[in-house]
Symmetry: C2
Subunit: 238 residues, 2 copies
Amino acid sequence: MTLDLCPSPALYPFYRKVNDTVIVVDIFRASTTMCTMLHNGAAAIITVPAIEDAIQYKSAGFLVGAERQTRKCDFADFGNSPFDYRREKVLGKEIVFTTTNGTMAIEMGRESRMLYIGAFSNIDVLANRCMKDSDRVVILCAGWHNRINMEDTLFGGAFAEALSCRGEITHGSDAIKIATELWQKAKNDPLGYLQKSDHYQRLINNGVEDDAAYCLQHNTVTVVPVYNSADKKIRASV
Amino acid sequence: MTLDLCPSPALYPFYRKVNDTVIVVDIFRASTTMCTMLHNGAAAIITVPAIEDAIQYKSAGFLVGAERQTRKCDFADFGNSPFDYRREKVLGKEIVFTTTNGTMAIEMGRESRMLYIGAFSNIDVLANRCMKDSDRVVILCAGWHNRINMEDTLFGGAFAEALSCRGEITHGSDAIKIATELWQKAKNDPLGYLQKSDHYQRLINNGVEDDAAYCLQHNTVTVVPVYNSADKKIRASV
């Protein structure tokens, strides 16, 4: 099993190989939130890159989660906080979802053999899955407007550790080695470590620092969100 | 003074701001080698992206350094080893230079207010210069075929340290924070640390590991290579 990390959606063309399994991560908060939606019983997630698309879906009667620059869009039912998507609201529903960076990363990875959504929330179930079904896995970090970020990189290092507990892995390039180095430094206190990160500061400034703590908890859900290229929806696989 | 790091030439559009001073680094080996050329008295460096351009210059009588995939091109006078560019060969000459990644990074940064070439070789003289003439500095890493690498990232952390000895600096984004974390881990033995990096392995495989040791030495030269946008040549500034 080879593991690599692509630190920005814009770089995926340079990391892509045939038969990649891609794991899209946007730890603060889109990928964590998608795990929560499906764990709480949402039937599917339809990700859309543009606000205009989300507004159209809203007009057509869909439940819509929409965020830009860390804030919930006014027209939407939900923002990008995992706490928004309570079971009684989402059970059995299809949720349309657009966020600043996460949905762009999904766009970039759409054509891979397999596309999963990853987070600390589902790290172990995802590692089990990848050990079974993948020869090469690329963690595709959502980053921030195509710039790299600390929390998605850290997840890469944590995932490398999770995989290497389960079997032998090869590092695909320096990117995953850098992530691993960073995780070794941060793992005893990821929340403390990430207080120096840009996006933690943005969350603080928007009063949602509780989201950050939740987003760093391991194994709070048991689902692997899987992108289906036939209908472009993301559904839970247990 | 704000310092940021752009980890791949392809990402520079997302890091660029008006009035950036850009420092192009390709530690193994192009930026180190350019410092050596100018330190040894070369009159100027003309970087060209394509091999075909370099061949044309060669036909026109220029001295040419050309490398692809870690190896010297057959037609060229020099490869990408700093040891190739001895004083008796380069003194007073204009050198045409093309390498796998370094020249591409220069292409991306060409339009910045100021473009310097940086390496461990000139780290202190470069830090002095930037403290005097720049409000915002972006270290533009050459990487490897637009993928990020460890040695250029490490330089970013080392440069942050060099600047912060000279005054107060602000981190522009997570990228320079990651670089700083990495450098703090590596600084006691950068050569040992980088033995896990991809490009160190490539250098070993090509029998040029002595280059790696040289490329990590601090302050072996006293020049700052400066790109001149009027004639597109790089010259020494002491």
